[in-house]
Symmetry: C2
Subunit: 202 residues, 2 copies
DNA sequence: GATAGAAGTGGACAGGACGTCCACTTGTGC
DNA sequence: GCACAAGTGGACGTCCTGTCCACTTCTATC
């Protein structure tokens, strides 16, 4: 009944990915990245990706159930890096003695704009519409902003967190950029928003 | 070359909708309203609507090129009513001597929450994802909020307007409501946001 | 009313995307 | 080098879309 003591401690017996599988995974990610970048991500089909990667439909579906999961895989490391900085990085992005929640929110906004600017196409592929809220990443941003709102003494930090994350929707970002709004203007606007809502009021 | 003077002044000669066409239009709208309400609007197909309305595909497509246009048609009168109130209604929704932009924005938020609560299903059908920004309605809300931001002396009212409208995204509203956040909490949060950003700062 | 022609109708059709299934191939541990 | 698990790829059935066009119904006119 008990686990065999000589097995490695990992819960899963570590199934080891086969060499051809690893090669194909890499091909898929590379092909998808390219396709997402050069076309409207919503129009990229699983077929397109399979063709571009030079593999069959079945192989693609074996690991990625849909386009969204591929975009998420591509996004993953970038989002983790930012999350790391939020938790343990230097202020104002990370926590610090003499930095208030409004400044940290503004810094977070700026960092997200950075992420958006570099990877809108992936974010549009991964977090379009309602899918956004079911992302692990969204949960993390939510926790972070809620925490800042609490620090600022907000009455309902939970609700406020979602409202404050809304302006970071990838669709909005694309819309604004395509309409000629510069990265800086968006960042400045968001900073205003941050200080207005979480700033120390008189 | 000149227009015949005895014709009615309307630009289009008013082609008069045929009786059967009018009947079918009504059927379509009724059926669609019902379907949108009882299912996830994104999953309602043109076929579903045609079947529910008891008409053929071709007939449906004749007037409505896609699901979105049907949802918009259903939404239209409600949105117009609100627009009317914003322009000519009583303060704080409408313009007034002793009402500041922050209060008007809060009132607008509250009215939009009302609209969302009653018609999320239609808004999800009509303004999902990027389609939202190409709506005439969005343009109107945008103009209104920009105007308020200008009154409040915002540096970049244009950019701020989009940012302030983001929390009204139908997907977010559905997400919040489904997660148990009450209508009141959302309204209160938005009011905070309104006063924080457009309120008179010390 | 009868009628001509415009307006409206509905279902068949082709195209494309999805997701599954399974006979075959390839890699890996023994 | 063998056995078998893991991986592969393309064919298949289903669903949805949007168009097309032969047919029907309405309405303006006489």
């Amino acid at each position: 009944m008990t686990r065999r003591p000589d097995l490695p401690l990992a819960e899963e017996p570590a199934p080891r990915e086969r060499a051809d599988a690893a090669r194909n995974r890499a091909r898929v990610l590379a092909a998808a990245e390219k396709l997402f970048a050069e076309r409207d991500p919503a129009s990229v089909t699983m077929d397109d990706i399979a063709k571009a990667a030079g593999i069959g439909r079945g192989t693609l579906y074996r690991r990625y159930p849909d386009r969204v999961s591929i975009a998420r895989a591509l996004l993953d490391e970038h989002e983790r890096a930012l999350q790391e900085k939020l938790m343990r990085g230097a202020p104002p992005l990370g926590p610090g003695e003499d930095v208030g929640p409004a400044d940290r929110l503004a810094a977070f906004y700026a960092a997200m704009i950075d992420l958006l600017e570099t990877h809108v196409h992936l974010l549009l592929g991964a977090e379009t519409g309602s899918a956004r809220y079911s992302t692990g990443a969204y949960g993390f941003w939510r926790l972070h902003v809620r925490h800042l709102a609490q620090q600022a003494g907000a009455a309902d930090a939970d609700t406020l967190a979602d409202l404050l994350l809304a302006p970071l929707a990838p669709e909005l970002y694309r819309y604004q950029r395509e309409n000629g709004t510069s990265l800086e203007r968006i960042s400045t606007g968001l900073a205003e928003l941050a200080h207005g809502t979480l700033g120390s009021r008189a």
